[in-house]
Amino acid sequence: MSLRELAVWSQEPKSDEAQLAAEDYIKMGVIKAQKGDIPEPYVMETDKTILVIGGGIAGMTAALQSAQSGYQVVLVEKEDRLGGFVNKLYKKVPAAAGEYKKPLIVDTDIDKTIKEVEGNPNIKVFKSAKVEKTEGQPGQFDVTIASNGNSEVVKIGSIILAAGWRPYDANKLEHLGYGKSKDVVTNIEFEDLARNGIIKRPSDGKDATRVAFIQCAGQRDPNHLSYCSAMCCTTSLKQAQYVRQNPDATAMILYKDIRTPGNLEYYYKAAQNDPGVMLTKGDVTAVTQSGNGSLFVEMENSLLGEKVKVEADLVVLATGVVPATVDDPILNLKYRQGPGLPDLELFDGFADSNFICFQYETRRTGVYAAGCIRQPMSMSDAQEDATGAALKAIQAAEHVAKGVAVHPRAWDVTWPDPFMQRCTSCKRCTEECPFGAIDEDEKGTPFYKPGRCRRCATCMGACPERIVSFKDYHVDMIGSMMKNVSVPDDEDKPRIIVLACENDAYPAIDTAALKHAKIDPAVRIIQLRCLGSTNLVWIADAFSRGIDGMLLLGCKFGENYQCHFAKGSELADYRLGKVQETLDRLQLEAERVGLIQVAIDEYNNIPAIIQKFVERVKEIGPNPFKGF
């Protein structure tokens, strides 16, 4: 408890109220200390082997990076050869830190990487293989790998999901001529056509001297893919160089916006500076036959004219990336909560993080995604991404082995310890745990997997029997703190408890106090690990003690939630929906309890938010239980 903020800066100096607040906060501090125990980590037998799913450039990089750091790696690849999509590429964009110099296309050298992976003694490669199921928890995953008709169970510490992507189904792009003319190909198919140097058109084998690239073929289109594939502009600029291996050929790139962000702009600049590379902005509406064996690409709003047709021998559709997770959960987790990573809808199927600041955080502990399965990205970005994912996987394996939590409470050595004798198998905890840490055994009794747990204490809040506790945080601790808050007898002086999330709401209050903003003396503020840990019993207890109102301050929920534990604040709200019953029993007004979403930067509003709530409670009048 920070006395300075809560009782000094935010109260009228030297007032009785400040004095009383200080006494209350000191009391609560003492209770908190008394009721807490020295934590002991949950140590279990673990394995630190890292499973990498997917043997493309991201997967191979993750495997190599982990292996080179001294970890055992199991690499599972669906195909009979490592390398993934890079195998299909003719050349790649060279690496450069600034200006690009010729040549603008270089060999992928994928064979070298494959050899390195296959030759690394720390890496065990399964080819033509799939993950059949994943059981257990970080440090103790049992992963069944099926390959060539055999199944094998391997012990795994943590998992990197790098199963990559597939191109968007071009058959859905009939308006762009795909399937109707052999001379309309995807950018992936074009890699193959380029392999033989001079590009011939598939229909009649004639030299294709006029090649049109249609950007955003499906991407950025509400009827197809709502996102941008981030790398197809660069890819087409690269493929234009393939076309220009024939000095008489022209490559025409038709774009909505050229997207070569960051230092890729240098590539754009170098690649366009070629007599035969032509670009223009426009909306491609159709690809039609010209009548003389070639094709017309029809455009509107183009810079070349309102409505134009560009004549071409070959049309390349710059199709986009679809993450493998759209088709298949891949991990096949045997979790009660389902086989894949959640949040699929929000992310268009990508195994992405909702956190801007914590890109590797999925809602399945010990599972990290990398490469195009996470976001559309280029080869070199995928390599960086995979290196980061490898670090995260190593971290997770090490933390679980020591019994320490991972993100966001990566220092926490406590863990939820349910007193199972009193469990009624109501399954509230299994349902509410945002991280799927609680499975059920055959009899339907919850079964905690501490390795998967993030220590949010949602289960503690969910449990109506109040049996889930942490050594330093439990229902009784917070309950007792509340019970010991002074309740003024004076009818005009209500007492209100504010439960504030320690991650966002509380720091906002802290900042308000730092700015010496005055906070209504009626309130006593208690920090919670997450609003998700709010147990309804506290409300009943507090009201029966004569507390006049209770305000919960937590993070924003909804699609763009900000809760570090994904759903805590939202779950508290859901539970409050059920508090009516309790209040009715006590014959109290529902308005005495409220939940308000605040962000950490709302410190200027916080005093007013609290004030308003206090007014609301004052209007309702004092708690009839006061003085009992």
Binding site: G98, C228, F347
Partner: protein, 419 residues
């Protein structure tokens, strides 16, 4: 790290305590490495500490910073040096010697951030945190949630005759005006360069009239104007007369993608302008925003954020770069000129205020660290033991900075393992 690699502790020095540097530090420490953070400013967080919201979620940057600060405080493996600068790096992978200069803060750990010194201080200084749009006392806290939560005394702006007003006002003996600059050296196994970026100097773009036409501001100034901790407490008003802004123009690629200025694309400024339209639209439902661009760059899933803004009928877009900005005659309004390429007409748009979407210039352009390699533009280059991460290496958003930093950690740790 695993058993076989646990022989000697991995020591990593992180230069720069911005988002990339912080992520590097916590990720490395949480993997068992010892970390030393060297930050030039008196606070951590770097540029994101100046941002109001993050695209596309429109969430406050301080939320993620706060969590990282908490991890940092909880980790005994991290030591932080603010107001510190690296003077020289020598040695090689696994064994570097880094000389660091520590500027005096004049405030020690006793500081409880009670503000007494600031109240007593008679001197003012321009507030660079708010990009010079207001001032602070010479004894100041860089910003409300600054970490470390300690005041600083800017001796360059002290009044010689104040009679140590701040020192006398402090009840905690936290002020020591005799502090001297110190030099320290560190022995480390690897170095992560996360020195980030500086806003490109808009004055250099003469066609855009920053500094000569009133009410032409930069996107970083806009972040501060919209921020609750900014000079106006979050009200977006124009600088010349405090008029609430109803009509605003954003000028994309202000200096970026331009050989005469920054030849690269700054990655974030399209998204930043889209984000900033939401600031103004939220404050004033009648307001109108207009974006002039060459290409709108919202790669990946950011596309949906673009759509969201585009769906707002009060936000319009024109393909065509602004290359002329003048003051409207007899008024503080601003007139921008561009070609609307879709219609092939030169257009002039009058606005209350114009925001230049200026880019991110790598820190290495202004200041190079001895012993670190750079490109011509000042981007830091990596080698086996010196690893560059974040915007100091390549322009990128916060998400990618974090990712880049995490990846740098593994490379740094591997160097320490001697592999």
């Amino acid at each position: 790290m695993s058993e076989q690699s646990n022989k000697q502790p991995n020591r990593i020095l992180v230069i720069g305590g911005g988002f990339s540097g912080l992520t590097t530090a916590v990720d490395a420490a949480e993997t068992g490495a010892e970390v030393i953070v060297i930050e030039k400013n008196p606070y951590l967080g770097g540029r994101v500490a100046q941002l109001n919201k993050y695209f596309p979620k429109l969430c406050p940057p301080i939320c993620g910073l706060e969590l990282n600060f908490k991890r940092l405080k909880n980790s005994p493996l991290i030591s932080v040096y603010t107001m510190a600068e690296v003077e020289n790096v020598s040695g090689g992978p696994g064994d570097y010697t880094v000389a660091v200069k520590l500027a005096p803060r004049f405030v020690n750990d006793n500081c409880v951030a009670c503000n007494a010194c600031s109240e007593a201080c008679p001197a003012e200084r321009p507030n660079e945190y708010n990009l010079g749009m207001d001032t602070t006392k010479a004894a100041y806290l860089p910003f409300n949630q600054a970490f470390p939560q300690k005041y600083v005394i800017d001796s360059a702006h002290c009044k010689a005759d104040c009679g140590k007003a701040c020192q006398n006002a402090c009840k905690y003996e936290a002020i020591d005006l005799n502090m001297k600059q110190e030099s320290v050296t560190f022995k480390v196994s690897s170095i992560v360069v996360a020195t980030g970026w500086n806003p490109y100097d808009a004055k250099k773009i003469d066609t855009l009239s920053y500094g000569s036409v009133k009410n032409v501001i930069t996107n970083m100034m806009m972040e501060r104007l919209a921020s609750p901790s900014g000079p106006t407490g979050g009200k977006i008003v124009r600088p010349s007369d405090g008029k609430p802004v109803e009509n605003i123009v954003f000028v994309q690629c202000a200096g970026s993608r331009d050989e005469n200025h920054l030849p690269f694309c700054s990655y974030i400024c399209c998204l930043a302008s889209l984000k900033q339209t939401t600031y103004i639209r939220e404050q004033n439902p009648e307001s109108k925003a207009h974006i002039f661009y060459i290409d709108i760059r919202t790669p990946g899933r950011y596309e949906k954020f673009y759509w969201k803004v585009k769906d707002d009928p009060n936000v319009s877009f024109t393909k065509g770069k602004v290359a002329k900005i003048v003051q409207a005659e007899g008024s503080d309004d601003v007139i921008v000129e561009a070609e609307d390429m879709q219609t092939g007409k030169k257009v002039k748009v009058r606005a209350d205020m114009v925001v230049l979407a200026t880019g991110m210039q790598p820190a290495g352009a202004a200041q190079k660290i001895n012993g670190v390699n750079y490109t011509e533009e000042g981007f830091a280059l990596s080698n086996q033991g010196v690893i560059a991460a974040g915007c100091g290496r390549n322009p990128m958003d916060v998400a990618r900075s974090g990712q880049d930093a995490t990846s740098a950690v593994l490379k740094a740790i591997k160097t320490g393992l001697g592999r």
